[in-house]
């Protein structure tokens, strides 16, 4: 017979020195599962037998054991553990982490232990030691259960020790191998009419029972043709009109495997009553007892027995679908999920209370869901709420049927609610739970919760899993920098659902006089296996992310923003673009009108949209930079270079021969510098114009990023361009459609057209172009490709690399530039940006969206050549 021990337990080996505990442990457990007191002695003192460090060694042992148990790892304690005071802290440790303490006793006669030890040179203590151990063990044996060990196994002979096998068994609550689909149904309280109606609505089919069968197994049984399973969150009994029918129905579904049930506090109390315990007949228990009393006397007794057995068999909570779904009556915090202890059971049945009472005399419940950060979805009931309301991946589906509300089911994994209204109010709630009819809809629990973000959720080193690129790591120092920027400058996080990634230039061109050229951008994407690219005109302004809502109501409902704002325009670092809120709202109103005119609200069935744009002129946002750097350099150069050229020219009349030749070379050099400076000034002036009214701004949107329920990364860039062109047409004064063309990378003629276009565009003073793979997301051989690379014009680059960067002596040096870091960042930021949007459209808690946005900002603080 193998020893059955639960998967998550703290196994305490008990036995005198020389009983063979370490050998036994090595045979049955992984070496990492075993914590040996001797090893710990060695770790702290270099001597496994040094008894003077025992207390330090045990401190280490308990510390490590605690870490393991917190992570849900089975742990074996290999120490003599023959004294109760040695075992007590271990039992307490198991309790602390809600694991089951298991004792395995190696109870061998003294002579065998003595013989074992005499073979070992390092154990030269006297025979009295083992004698003491054995007598302590003997005295302990009977009390182990009382000490708190849930399982006690005693192995009395060498042979038994030799032949015993150990089998690990899952806990009762572990049904991770059940994958559903499920229909999770809220508190029933004897509302069997509504239950039958709901099951029918969900597609369950009834098989009628024996007519007149009043036993617990009597009545109909429901099953779903598509093998869906009903999961009941408990509180089947009390208050309502058909308690026993409800019990029969649920019991039958559980018995046939069509249903799963966790107990509620009312069911638990009924059980105690059935077992003859003293309970108060309150809160609707009377109705249940009355129904039982009404049963014919001959079946009442077996009915009660079966009912007690059924209720007793219910497990406090379940882990379902690989642990992705947790169902419990009153909820389940993360640390308790999948664990077994009376504390866990009590949490499942009653939740936690704060010790305070409210104005209705009811206990105030600790809102565990507020603090919940677990990855599993938790579905629960217990407290009636007017609407099922998501909060941090938890949802309460008790919509108070017995109080005249509704009976609600959550379809999993669809996450849809299906409900039927109560036929009537069967019981008046002691605290009203339905909202008064008037007034604007309150913010959802999640929105209220989201108005406050936690420092813990952003600080320190973070690893953010993304759909596009797996885990993205944010270093602690970058998070630190981002916290400062986010706190001092960024807009309300509720508006910040996306920040754009940085963009790398194309590889450096070797063509004379050039640093960048489209040929390199085309070559990059061809190597990545991209057949076609889109070349979009690069506008020289400031990157802007726009969130625009259809109206104030939409801003409130979807973003939880109650300030009356209807959208926002932010910079690439999440800072508000406009200091003047009125200007911002007028700007948004124009954009909103254009979207309406293009009929996109209806087309996308959305009340909001998020757009990636360029906002011009550059001078509107970069005023300071322009004045202190660009114009300043222009002014200094304009004033000094022509004077230098003049002076050189004058000097040429005084010089002859070699001296004149030397001067002539420098004169030519300064003439060129002077011309280059003029070109530099002309270059930045292109992007400056005065802004006096709204119409002086130009907004060029290029990604129609996301709308309700969808992130449009599944659409290619042509679709984005065409969709946005409709918007831009509606207000050409403010909105500027982006010129673009598709280039077929395998067609030389098409490539040439692309290059010609860039040449013409940049000759006209354009910044350059952005080359993107036709599909929004492209994965090459080495994973995600750059979402875009920029290819800037020769004149524009004077603003970046200096007025006279175009001379050969400068170009030769400037061509040495590494793009690797920039490109790695661009991809990580792209993946994070899209991840944030995906989480937002899936209505995840704000902290999950904010984590991504914060991550982009953090990565932006990485030092990388700012000229790239």
């Amino acid at each position: 017979m193998p020893l059955k021990i639960p998967n998550l337990s703290l196994v305490v080996l008990i036995g005198p020195s020389g009983a063979g505990k370490s050998t036994f442990a090595r045979k049955h457990f992984k070496s990492t599962e075993i914590l040996s007191s001797d090893r710990c002695r060695g770790m702290v003192s270099d001597d496994e037998n040094d008894q003077t460090v025992t207390s330090d060694a045990f401190e280490v042992l308990r510390f490590v054991a605690g870490k393991r148990l917190a992570l849900g790892r089975l742990t074996v304690i290999d120490a003599t553990n023959v004294q109760p005071e040695a075992r007590k802290p271990l039992v307490a440790l198991a309790k602390q982490f809600d694991c089951l303490p298991v004792a395995i006793v190696l109870n061998l006669p003294e002579r065998i232990c003595q013989a074992h030890n005499s073979d070992r040179a390092d154990r030269d203590f006297g025979p009295h030691v083992i004698r003491n151990h054995i007598s302590q063990l003997r005295r302990s044996l009977r009390g182990l259960k009382r000490e708190g060990f849930r399982h006690v196994f005693v192995l009395d002979s060498l042979e038994q020790i030799e032949t015993t096998a150990i089998e690990r068994v899952p806990l009762w609550n572990d049904r991770r191998d059940e994958h559903g689909p499920f229909d999770i149904i809220g508190d029933l309280h004897g509302c069997c009419d509504e239950l039958e109606e709901l099951l029918t609505k969900l597609g369950y089919v009834a098989t009628a029972g024996e007519p007149g069968d009043l036993s617990l197994a009597g009545g109909p049984c429901y099953a779903h043709p598509a093998k869906r399973k009903a999961v009941f969150v408990g509180d089947l009994v009390d208050r309502g009109p058909r308690v026993l029918d409800t019990l029969r129905l649920v019991r039958n579904m559980v018995a046939t495997g069509a249903g799963i049930c966790v107990p509620g506090n009312h069911d638990e109390k009924l059980l105690r009553k059935l077992l003859g315990k003293e309970v108060q007949i309150k809160h609707g228990l009377a109705q249940t007892l009355a129904e039982i009393d009404a049963l014919p006397a001959e079946i009442r007794e077996p009915f009660c027995r079966e009912l007690a057995e059924f209720l007793d068999s219910l497990v406090s909570h379940y882990l379902l679908d690989n642990g992705k779904l947790v169902v419990a009556h009153a909820g389940m915090k993360q640390e308790f999920q999948g664990r077994g202890s009376s504390r866990v059971r009590s949490f499942a049945l009653y939740g936690e209370t704060t010790g305070e009472t409210d104005e209705f005399g009811l206990q105030v419940r600790f809102n565990w869901a507020c603090e919940y950060r677990g990855p599993a979805m938790v579905v629960y009931g217990h407290t009636p709420v007017p609407e099922p309301d998501w909060l941090n991946r938890t949802v309460n589906i008790d919509t108070g049927c017995v109080f005249g509300g509704r009976l609600t089911a959550l379809r999993y994994p669809e996450n849809e609610f299906v409900s039927v209204p109560a036929a009537r109010t069967y019981c008046e709630p002691s605290r009203p739970f339905l909202p008064a009819e008037s007034g604007p809809a309150a913010l959802s629990a999640q929105q209220q919760h989201d108005s406050m973000l936690n420092a813990d959720d952003v600080l320190g080193k973070r690893i953010i899993p993304t759909r596009l690129r797996g885990n993205v790591t944010i270093r602690e120092e970058n998070a630190t920098a981002a916290l400062e920027v986010m706190s001092r400058f960024a807009a309300d996080p509720r508006w910040l659902i996306y920040l754009p990634p940085t963009m790398s230039p194309c590889e450096t061109s070797q063509a004379p006089g050039l640093l960048e050229h489209p040929a390199q951008a085309f070559a990059y994407y061809r190597n990545e296996g991209v057949p076609q690219v889109v070349c979009e005109e690069k506008h020289m302004g400031s990157r802007a992310v726009v969130v625009v809502c259809q109206d104030e109501q939409a801003a409130r409902n979807r973003f939880g923003v109650t300030t009356g704002e209807t959208g926002i325009i932010v910079t690439r670092t999440g800072r508000r673009f406009f200091n003047d809120p009125d200007l911002e709202q007028r700007f948004l109103a124009r954009l909103r009108a254009a979207i309406s005119q293009a009929d996109l609200w209806a087309q996308f069935n959305t009340t909001w949209a998020c757009l990636d744009c360029e906002l011009m002129p550059w001078s509107a946002k970069a005023q300071d930079l322009l004045r202190t750097q660009y114009a300043a350099v222009g002014a200094a150069g304009t004033a000094s270079l022509p004077r230098a050229v003049q002076a050189l020219a004058a000097a040429s009349t005084n010089l002859k021969g070699d001296e004149l030749a030397k001067l002539a070379a420098i004169e030519a050099r300064f003439q060129l510098k002077s011309q280059d400076l003029t070109r530099f000034v002309a270059a930045y002036r292109q992007y400056c114009w005065p802004v006096e009214s709204l119409n002086d701004f130009k907004l060029a949107p290029f990604h129609w990023l996301a709308t309700e329920g969808r992130v449009h990364t599944d659409q290619n860039h042509l679709w984005h361009m065409e969709t946005l062109a409709k918007v831009c047409q509606a207000d050409p004064e403010l909105l500027r459609a982006t010129r673009y063309q598709v280039v077929d990378l395998n067609d030389p003629a098409s490539l040439e057209l692309g290059i010609n276009d860039w040449t013409a565009l940049t000759a006209r003073g354009g910044e350059g172009m952005v080359v993107k793979p036709l599909n929004f997301i492209h994965k090459g051989r080495k994973g995600l490709s750059q979402p875009a690379v920029k290819c800037r014009g020769r004149e524009y680059l004077r603003i970046i690399y200096g007025p006279d960067y175009t001379t050969d002596e400068n170009l030769v040096r400037l061509r040495a530039r590494g793009l690797g870091r920039k490109r790695a960042l661009a991809i990580s930021e792209f993946a994070l940006g899209i991840e944030g949007l995906e989480r937002f459209v899936r209505r995840e808690p704000l902290r999950r969206v904010h984590e991504c946005v914060f991550g982009v900002l953090a990565l932006e603080s990485e030092p990388v050549d700012p000229r790239l």
Binding site: M452, N454, A455, L459, A631, A650, F670, Y805
Partner: protein, 466 residues
């Protein structure tokens, strides 16, 4: 960058001897940042003009040579065109003997006073034309300056800080070059190299005989030493010791920044604020206190002096500021028991932070005005709902008082990073609403010398948990 030196001394070509550069030659010198060319546009007996033209290598100065870092950070840089410490370096290297007053071929010329004119195209002057005159005129120069517009196509961008400057004086070439050597970087107020002790010795040696008596000596010294306070103090002390000039005037008007602190300095409002906050905290009997937005640690230093405060937590959002606080408080040198009372953490007041929970009192001195108004809601919840200290002492400027400061006035804020400044009524309205929402009581009091109609420069709310 072009420096032109002209003389009409007879014969003018003596200038060639003085500069050690032959007028019939075009000479080029390699320097760390590029090249310097010397040539003569005019060299007759009547008039002689010598040019020092700097040819700064814009790429080399950013990229550096080999593995070393460059001297500058930006390619788009005025350094190739503007007179700066590069010019001083060129003077000291290319015109070394002239600068030192040596003239090998004609020793008597070196000490001869000549009519000299120097023109700089262009000189960046922080502090404007007034400062230009204030520096050169006491040294006997006649100054002529033309200011360059930033961009004539965008007149509303205003003037640039660049001047084409001509100075004239009858003096020796050596003195002219010495003045330029010291003063050019002073106008520019920047240096391309690290300013250390050596720089102090240079200043004292080149400034000998003229700097200690110069009315702008403090500003010149301060700027030459790049605002390194310790060097600056040492330099002044040594200047004074050297020549024992008349009394130093302490109240030089600051020219460059009008930082909040400078602005409020006459009444040392900040110290008053700290004192009042400290007294308020002491009166509550608080033992465990928070200084939220602790900045460079002025209040922390005071808190540390009082044993009543057993546990002090300073938090700031700026990691740089915290480092300064750590330095100023000499945290790593405090005795263990002292140090154990104080903890500095990096954190934000708009994220809920469990580290802030369970304190007796919190000081929030001149912090909220740095938050965007829409973020005040988050701040309010972090502090009043979650951290929930027994007492909160919160101060913020009183906007009404701004009219008393000439350079602030009613329309502007006291500090560039202030997102709002409240009137007394606005502050009280906010404070009372916050207190009511979170079960606190609040008392608002003026902070600083009161003006009958405008109130005090600052205002303080004392919130007590009900």
């Amino acid at each position: 960058m072009l420096l032109t030196i002209t003389t009409e001394h007879q014969p003018a070509t003596d200038l060639g001897f003085l500069l050690h550069k032959h007028p019939a030659r075009f000479q080029t010198y390699s320097l760390s940042f590029g090249k310097a060319h010397i040539f003569y546009p005019q060299a007759t007996a009547e008039r002689c003009q010598a040019c020092l033209l700097l040819d700064v290598d814009p790429v080399g100065t950013v990229r550096g040579k080999g593995q070393s870092e460059g001297l500058l950070a930006q390619y788009v840089n005025d350094r190739p065109y503007a007179a700066s410490s590069f010019l001083s370096v060129a003077i000291s290297q290319v015109l070394r003997s002239a600068l030192q007053g040596q003239c090998k071929d004609r020793p008597e010329l070196a000490d001869t006073v000549l009519p000299l004119e120097a023109r700089i195209d262009v000189l960046p002057v922080r502090g404007g034309e007034t400062f230009l005159h204030a520096v050169f005129e006491p040294l006997g120069y006649e100054v002529e300056a033309t200011r360059q517009p930033l961009d004539d196509q965008f007149p509303d961008w205003g003037e640039s800080s660049y001047f084409s400057v001509t100075i004239r004086k009858r003096t020796t070439v050596s003195e002219l070059l010495t003045h330029l050597y010291v003063l050019v970087p002073v106008f520019d107020n920047a240096k391309h190299y690290y300013v250390g002790d050596e720089e102090l010795e240079k200043l004292l040696s080149y400034g000998k005989g003229w700097l200690s008596g110069h009315p702008e000596r403090e500003e010149i010294t301060r700027r030459y030493l790049k605002f390194q306070p310790s060097l600056f103090r040492e330099a002044l002390a040594r200047l004074v010791q050297e020549e024992q000039p008349e009394e130093l005037e302490p109240d030089n008007e600051p020219i460059a920044d009008q930082a909040e602190e400078v602005l409020e300095k006459p009444i040392s409002l900040h110290e008053q604020r700290i004192g009042t906050v400290l007294a308020t905290l002491k009166a509550t009997g608080a033992k465990r206190v928070l200084d939220l937005g602790c900045g460079e640690g002025k209040l922390l230093r005071e808190l540390l002096k009082h044993r009543q405060f057993e546990e002090i937590l300073g938090m700031d959002v700026s990691i740089r500021t915290l480092e300064i606080a750590r330095d100023r408080l000499k945290l790593d040198r405090l005795p263990e028991r002292q140090a154990a009372r104080l903890q500095l953490i990096h954190g934000s007041l708009i994220y809920r932070d469990q580290r802030l929970e369970g304190y007796d009192a919190a000081a929030v001195v001149e912090v909220i005005e740095h938050l965007d108004p829409p973020r005040l809601e988050a701040f309010e919840r972090v502090l009043f709902e979650f951290a929930r200290p027994g007492t909160i002492v919160l101060t913020t400027p009183n906007r009404e008082y701004n009219v008393t400061w000439e350079n602030v006035g009613p329309q502007k804020f006291r500090h560039g990073d202030h997102r709002f400044e409240w009137t007394r009524l606005e502050f009280q309205t906010w404070a009372q609403a916050v207190a009511a929402r979170h079960r606190y009581t609040v008392k608002c009091v003026p902070l600083g010398p009161e003006n009958a109609s405008l109130g005090a420069p600052s205002q303080m709310g004392i919130f007590s948990r009900a």
